[in-house]
């Protein structure tokens, strides 16, 4: 532990808050969510979303989080059939949830490539105002021609440009949210409505990829403007987060990895000229809990079996081999044929796209042979988010999390329930009280806005911009 403390203090993390926050990530796609159990509920009924959000709020979660994928996953030229798929538009769903929740933050993953800045900023303002200052935007930059086929613009970006573009986009959104003065409201009368009580500014941006020229319509919210999340792990993505984000939705939940990631982000944040603790970190995670550790381990085997069945295991390999492998026994060794493609493709929604297929598959064959794993065992270990899992009794896992809080390795966890809509019940009923007993989890909401509940500073209004012409 001392060595972790040293790593963090060298990076400038001197005062861990000692507190963790939870978010819930209602995934709606991929193999993490079990659809085969008797308890598996609907992925689209509003009641599933209401149930998860209200349970999370009962457990004092800081945030309810929705992802986004703007093209349906495909597998060898057909829609991917084996996993949960088909989910609502994030902001529309969150606007509905705003009317049946009161404190929880509402985080929409929204892409900078397939949206217009003025429109997206206006819709996020709307969500922020409707929810009384509980909105957040998880900025993602996914950019490929395949997804672009669903949009007017098409796939127009070079991958290398994604963060230059994203940064201009986010700056424009911030200018929109900065437009109205602190006390401005729109006064509605018989002659229509007009801003009153403060000047508003026109927003003009002319850039490489888009041009925006507007008089923003909306005032600031109770939390000033939506909180910014970021998810994207490349060096460019991390620097972007260090400059722009309030919270990182990271892929680094394991302790040592989390500490290293924290140190890296803190260093980047300081280099970007912001306070060392300006960016919160909440890694993606999964919890498999029970009263005893033995039961939890048993439950884990059941969860893994239902997350990834024999067909899914073979299909998983097919993504990387780029060819059908139906003849291969899921209980036997990995296929000893080569892949049919040179590079794995992004159309499969995997994190490995662009990898050299021949190298990757050869490496996996060797790895599985060394561990004496069958296809099923290998894929369950590789794809079943083992590295994001916390498995154990309520008190064991609570102890484990308390250690993160003690050194400030993370600010909380973004939890993907593996069952909808009951997947948060044991976390809220059992884990949260254990954490509260250890003094590392809130016992009430600090306030009504997401910014207050996450302990984030209120931004200052930028001093640039010209007055609106009205």
């Amino acid at each position: 532990m001392p060595q972790h403390t040293r790593a963090l203090s060298e990076a400038g993390v001197s005062t861990p808050t000692g507190e963790l926050q939870f978010g819930v990530f209602f995934q709606g796609v991929n193999s993490g969510t079990i659809w085969k159990a008797a308890e598996s509920g609907s992925q689209t009924d509003f009641e599933s979303f209401r149930r998860i959000a209200q349970t999370a709020e009962r457990g004092l979660f800081a945030a309810f989080f929705l992802g986004e994928g703007l093209r349906l996953r495909e597998h060898l030229g057909q829609p991917h059939a084996l996993d949960v798929a088909g989910r609502p538009d994030a902001q529309t769903m969150l606007a509905a949830l705003a009317s049946v929740t009161s404190h929880i933050g509402l985080v929409a993953t929204q892409n900078t490539t397939y949206n217009d800045p003025a429109d997206l900023a206006h819709r996020l303002s709307t969500l922020d105002l409707l929810s009384g200052g509980r909105a957040a935007w998880n900025v993602v930059t996914t950019d490929n021609a395949w997804t672009g086929e669903n949009f007017r613009r098409g796939g127009y970006l070079d991958h290398a440009d994604r963060y230059t573009h994203a940064e201009a986009f986010v700056e424009t959104a911030k200018a929109v949210w900065d437009s109205w003065g602190p006390d401005a409201v729109a006064r509605q009368g018989t002659n229509g409505s007009r801003p009153e009580g403060g000047a508003s500014r026109r927003v003009h941006h002319q850039g490489q990829h888009y041009t925006v020229d507007i008089s923003p319509r909306l005032p600031r919210s109770a939390q000033y403007r939506p909180v910014l999340f970021q998810a994207g792990d490349s060096p460019a993505g991390r620097d972007f987060a260090a400059r722009q984000a309030d919270v990182i939705f990271s892929g680094h939940p394991q302790f040592d990895d989390a500490v290293a990631f924290r140190a890296d982000i803190t260093a980047r944040t300081v280099r970007a000229g912001r306070p060392a603790d300006a960016v919160k970190i909440m890694p993606a995670s999964e919890f498999i809990l029970a009263a005893t550790s033995a039961e939890a381990v048993e439950k884990q085997a059941w969860v893994r079996e239902l997350q990834i069945g024999p067909q899914q295991a073979v299909a998983y390999l097919e993504q990387f081999w780029g060819r059908r492998l139906d003849g291969w026994d899921p209980h036997g060794p990995l296929p000893d044929v080569g892949p049919a493609v040179e590079e794995t493709s992004e159309t499969r929604g995997s994190g490995f796209h662009g990898a050299k297929a021949a190298e990757l598959t050869a490496q996996w064959r060797q790895e599985a042979a060394e561990k004496e794993q069958s296809i099923l065992q290998f894929v369950r270990a590789k794809a079943g988010r083992a590295d994001a899992s916390f498995v154990g009794s309520y008190s064991e896992v609570a102890d484990k999390l308390a250690a993160y809080a003690a050194v400030g390795a993370v600010d909380g966890f973004n939890i993907s329930p593996w069952l909808i809509p009951t997947g948060l019940d044991d976390i809220v009923n059992h884990l949260v009280p254990e954490l509260q007993d250890r003094g590392v989890y809130p016992t009430e909401y600090r306030g009504y806005t997401l910014r207050e509940n996450l302990g984030l500073a209120v931004p200052e209004r930028a001093s640039v911009g010209e007055p609106a012409v009205r």
Binding site: P79, D116, V185, S193
Partner: protein
């Protein structure tokens, strides 16, 4: 999509009432005033309680106006019977996003969603997204294109596409998902295409009812069979019935017609004539007593399938409408009964359509 043989004459005798909620309640947006409800929720619940069948949400480019579709979504979970219909532009929006957002609205409202598809003629709206302003004949073409994209995407998951078949390990039957493969016709610039399938299963109603202003509908514009209802305007109340008859002649029986009416009533001891400011806009305006309005609506609903009211002040007019107008119209049988847990299609008398792609195979589409 009016694939049915229209409404039975019986259904037509009773009509529905819609009311516009633009700026109606404090929704956090900074719209404050003496004649504004304390909250958007209060405004929506008040019009539902008053017995309106439909609430519409304009997307005015005015200061203080929040996104219409999200306001409608916010109202979804807190209401039970009222239909929620936002206005969404087709010219400066991404048709794919619009389709997914509207499908989601249908889910969060339990099938009580519709869409007023508009075509913004606005250089402000064009500048906001850095596009050249679209005008003239291209406007209805943009509307037609976006509606067609939504309709195809809503059908792109057949109803029984989610099979959850444990024995074969399939959550989805991939043969029941379909590419939309939409390409704009000539006349739309820049041209675009949308691949599909949708990223959300088929909406609860299968297809959301689509409402379009009459000025955009017709030959070489938005085809009548692409819309479920048309919004009809006339310069004065006296001309509305004749205009309805004209549009009916032009578009046929399969489209519902909704008359647009501004309303200023005698209220709170003040005569309507004093409360009516200016000459009104291009919509017919009724200025007078609640009793006179009741009689006028009773007649209008013989010709029109529905009437949408634009009250001078929601707070003030709603009092009179709820107390004096709606109860009387209901008693006289001029209003369709409310359907508990009904859909917008139910209200319009439209059956739930099967997907246009039923029995076609995605693999065939994927071949080329």
């Amino acid at each position: 999509m009016s694939t049915t043989d229209g409404f039975s004459s019986e259904a037509r005798r009773a009509g529905f009432l819609a009311i516009e909620l633009d700026g109606a309640g404090w929704d956090g947006t900074g719209v404050r005033g003496d004649d504004v409800f304390a909250s958007l929720a209060a405004a929506v619940l008040a019009v539902e309680t008053a017995g309106f069948h439909v609430a519409t949400f304009a997307d005015s480019p005015l200061p203080g106006r929040a996104n219409a579709l999200q306001r409608a979504a916010y109202a979804g979970p807190i209401t039970r019977t009222i239909v929620l219909v936002p206005e969404v532009d087709t010219v400066y929006t991404e048709p794919f996003h619009v389709s997914i957002q509207l499908a989601t609205l249908d889910y969060v409202s339990g099938g009580r969603a519709g869409w007023i598809a508009t075509a913004a003629e606005s250089s402000e709206a064009a500048a906001a997204v850095g596009r050249a302003a679209v005008s003239g004949a291209a406007l209805p073409l943009e509307a037609a294109a976006s509606i067609e994209v939504s309709r195809r995407l809503w059908d792109s998951w057949e109803d029984d596409a989610v099979i959850r078949d444990v024995s074969t390990g399939r959550y989805i039957d991939a043969d029941k998902l379909h590419y939309a493969d939409y390409r704009t016709p000539t006349g739309i610039s820049p041209a675009y295409s949308v691949k599909g399938p949708s990223i959300i299963p088929r909406p609860l109603q299968g297809q959301l009812p689509v409402l379009v202003p009459a000025s955009l509908v017709g030959e070489g514009q938005v085809p009548a069979d692409a819309v479920d209802a048309v919004l009809v305007t006339a310069p004065t109340p006296e001309l509305l019935a004749a205009e309805i008859a004209d549009v009916r002649d032009r578009l046929g029986q399969s489209v519902a017609l909704v008359a647009e009416l501004d309303v200023v009533l005698d209220a709170r001891g003040q005569p309507a004539t004093e409360r009516a400011v200016g000459t009104g806009g291009d919509r017919a305006r009724y200025v007078g007593s609640a009793g006179g309005l009741t009689a006028f609506l009773g007649q209008l609903l013989v010709e029109a399938d529905g009437v949408r009211l634009h009250p001078a002040s929601l707070v003030v007019e709603l009092d009179e409408l709820a107390r004096l107008v709606l109860p009387e119209l209901r008693r006289s049988g001029a209003l369709r009964p409310m359907v508990q847990d009904g859909t917008f299609r139910d209200l319009l008398g439209l059956p739930r359509p099967t997907s246009r792609y039923t029995n076609s195979h995605i693999a065939a589409a994927a071949e080329n």
